[in-house]
Every structure is written in C-alpha cells, then in structure tokens.
C-alpha cells in the first residue's frame, strides 16, 4: 500500500480556434482516461497562449490538439511558438480532427508526432501516448 509513484502520462487535450464542436476531443479525453492517463481538458475556443499556459501550469507530458475548422496551419504553429516561448519544447505533441493528407509533412515539421483523423481507433491514440510520452 505504499503509494507507488505515479508514472502515467499527464495529457492536455485542447481545442484551439473558434469551432464549437468538442465531441471528438471529449472522446479522446475519455479514451485516455480509460487508458489510465490523467487528462486535463480545457474546453473549446482556446487561444494558443491559453493552451501553452495551461500546459505550463499543469506540467503535462503530452499536448493533443483537436481541430475541425480547417485553421490548423494557421493556429498550430502559433501554439508551438507559445510552447517554445515557455521552454516547453519537450512535450509530446499530437493532433486530431479534419486535417488533409497534404498537410501532414508540414505538421510533422512543426513537431507533431502523430495525426489522428476521423475513424481512428482510440486505442491507437492511447498506445501512441504510452509509447512516446517520456515521463521527465
């Protein structure tokens, strides 16, 4: 009964931008919870600054961004920049939502380690997080 040091990933799931649908984000949050992660969910309409600030205060290992609006190439670089500003370059980044194939290369260059599109088995997301999150 010695409380074992918790080493399970701490994940921020955030929705940048103005679209108001967060069903997908919530499904991912629940899947990660069911996989044993501690998931911080911040709700819709987050600015890049708010997302980075939440990642800092919550000291997360992983940030997952969900987007449906099509504004990812505009918003994601700003999130990455805000994370860098706060020295949070070591967090594992992934994203999900409606993201055209041709944007994959650009997002990978930004540092996104995985892109999950509609129809993804949520177990793959959980596995990805466990395989790649380094508990610092």
């Amino acid at each position: 009964m010695t409380a074992p040091a918790q080493t399970k990933p701490r994940v921020l799931i955030a929705k940048p931008g103005l679209d108001g649908h967060d069903r997908g984000a919530k499904v991912v949050a629940r899947a990660l919870r069911d996989g044993g992660c501690e998931v911080i969910y911040t709700g819709i309409r987050q600015t890049p600054e708010m997302i980075a600030e939440a990642a800092l205060q919550e000291d997360v290992d992983v940030v997952g961004l969900s987007i449906l609006s099509g504004a990812h190439l505009e918003l994601f670089p700003r999130v990455v920049e805000e994370l860098k500003k706060r020295d949070l370059d070591d967090v594992l980044l992934f994203c999900g939502g409606i993201i055209p194939d041709e944007d994959t290369a650009e997002l990978e260059k930004l540092g996104f380690k995985a892109i999950f599109r509609p129809g993804t088995d949520t177990r793959d997301i959980v596995k990805f997080v466990y395989d790649n999150a380094s508990k610092s």
């Binding site: 009964m1 501690e38 969910y41 911040t42 709700g43 919550e58």
Partner: protein
C-alpha cells in the same frame, strides 16, 4: 536540484509546476523540494471550496479569484477531481470554468486527480498546497468534490471552508443534518438565479438556529457565480471568518491539529513501507493464506508483520 528551488523562490512558474508534479508523485526529489520550501509556506489564506458535483464550485472559485484580483491580490488554485477507481485515470475539467483567469499572471491553476485517496482529496494535497503557499500567493483556493467525508478532510487542509449548495436539491439539507454544517465556515447558496434560493437560505438559517448558542454561526451568502454576483459578499464573509480565527487564537490550534494529523499519517506510511521492505513476499503470502483459511486472525498476523520493525 538547488536550481529548481532557486528558480521557484525567484517566482518562476514553470519551476512551481514541476515542483508540484514531483511532490504529487511522491518522488525523492519531491520530498527534498518540500523540505526546502516548507519554511516558506504558511502565509497564504487557504480556502476550501466543497459541495456536491455540479454545484458550481469551479465557477465560484474562478469568480472569487477574479474578485481578489480586482484588489490586486494573487491567487493559487488547486482543483481536485476524482480518479477512476478502475483505471486510475482521470479527466480534470475544472479549468473549463476558469477561462477568464487563463492568462492572468497573478493566478496559477493546478488540476489534481484524487488518486484514490480516502476522503476524496488527493493523497499529497497538503504537501501540494504547502508548495503553492511557499510560492507566495495571497490566497489559495482548494476545490474538492464533496461526498460526505471529503468535506471533513478539506476542513483540515484549509483555514476557511466554504460549502456550496444549490436551490431545488432537497438532499442538501438532509446531508447538512449529518454534521456537515459543523465544518462549514461559510455557507453559499449558489445558482441564486434559480427558483428556491430564498427558501434554501431560510432553511439553512433555520438549521443554524438549532446549533448551540456558543457556536459560531456561519454566514449564508447568495451567489450567481456565472455572473460574478455575490463575490464581494463572499470575500467579506471569508475575511470575517479569518478575523474570527485570529481573534480567538484558533488559527494556531487548527494548524497544530493539522500538523499532528499529517505527521502521524506520514509516520504510518513510513512504518508500512518499512514493514513491507522487511517482509519477504513468501512470508506475507503465507500469513495471508492462513488468515484467508481462518487459521489465523488478521490482528495476530499484523502483529507478526509489525514485529520486524519494533524488534
């Protein structure tokens, strides 16, 4: 290691976030950080906000913090949500209701999972609050879901406990009768924009009137947290409670009580660790088997285990 404590004491928020994680995970570094930071804690007014699920605790916490910010005060917030008993995972969603504070440099919000602690609070809550305190915030608000026992636990951690109620949920009054009122220093009727707020307030007042004359009667404050209404009154009621504690020398008494509780429960954890470390698995398994088959009673078995450390 020095470095992170130094940065912490210089006001670096990233260092605070990291220190909290280490303390929360009960790592050796976490223990060391706490050892160094503990003398810096004890200055903030700690406020516990409890009440049933969905009562509006997070919204109220955000609105109260905004009220303190208007007066130039800084606020640390620790919001506890339960962990799943099956997977140990958790969804921590209290920040959703605190968005107005998201970019305020004078506010720091940290979500914590309950991690199955008895009483619903997180096991390391006292240590985490001490760290946030050491950072130098004027106020620390601790949000926890109340389910009977938890309110009592939060009363040990916070100087002032605020119990959030809602109109139209008759079970609240029932719960109060079970002694919960005794731990509430301020009673809030939140969602006062809903019908029945006045009825609930007068029911609560009626209940308070039954308590012994020499007992302090907690004030009742009506709030509409979503609109920030009643926050001035709530802040005033909290300040009035703080003055009451100071005037009656109760703060020191409360601190000693909480310190005793923490020292004893930490000692209990250390002893258990030592027992487990000194007990080969086979020995424990053997004892367990004997108790399971009614060959031995649990207390005699426990004595046998405990002898390793007392001898």
């Amino acid at each position: 290691m020095e470095d992170i404590v130094e940065r912490f004491l210089a006001g670096n928020r990233r260092a605070l976030a990291r220190v909290i994680s280490r303390i929360e995970n009960e790592t050796p570094e976490g223990r060391e950080y706490l050892r160094q930071l503990y003398p810096h804690s004890g200055r903030a007014h700690t406020i516990g906000v409890t009440g049933s699920a969905g009562a509006g605790k997070s919204t109220l916490t955000g609105a109260l913090a905004a009220e303190y910010r208007r007066h130039g005060k800084t606020v640390g917030i620790v919001a506890v949500d339960p962990s799943s008993p099956f997977t140990q995972g958790a969804i921590l969603g209290d920040r959703i209701r605190m968005q107005d504070l998201a970019l305020d440099e004078g506010v720091f919000v940290r979500s914590m999972a309950g991690r199955g602690a008895l009483g619903g609070l997180a096991p390391s809550i006292n240590d985490v609050v001490a760290a946030v305190d050491a950072f130098g915030f004027d106020y620390i608000i601790i949000e926890t879901v109340g389910a009977g026992q938890d309110e009592v636990e939060i009363a040990g951690t916070a100087m002032t406990t605020v119990l959030v109620n809602n109109p139209g949920t008759g079970d609240d009054i029932q719960a109060m009768k079970a002694g919960i009122l005794e731990i509430a220093d301020v009673l809030v009727v939140n969602k006062a924009d809903h019908p029945g707020a006045d009825t609930l307030a007068s029911q609560l007042q009626g209940l308070l009137n039954l308590s012994p004359k020499d007992m302090r009667r907690p004030p009742i404050v009506k709030t509409v947290s979503t609109r920030g209404e009643g926050m001035q009154e709530l802040a005033a009621a909290i300040a009035e409670h703080r003055e009451y504690l100071d005037e009656h020398g109760l703060l020191q008494q409360q601190r000693e009580k909480n310190a005793r509780h923490q020292v004893l429960s930490a000692a209990r954890a250390i002893l258990l660790q030592r027992i487990q470390a000194a007990t080969p698995d086979e020995q424990l398994d053997g004892l367990v088997q004997r108790v399971a088959s009614r060959d031995l009673d649990p207390h005699t078995a426990a004595e046998e285990l405990a002898n390793v450390v007392s001898g």
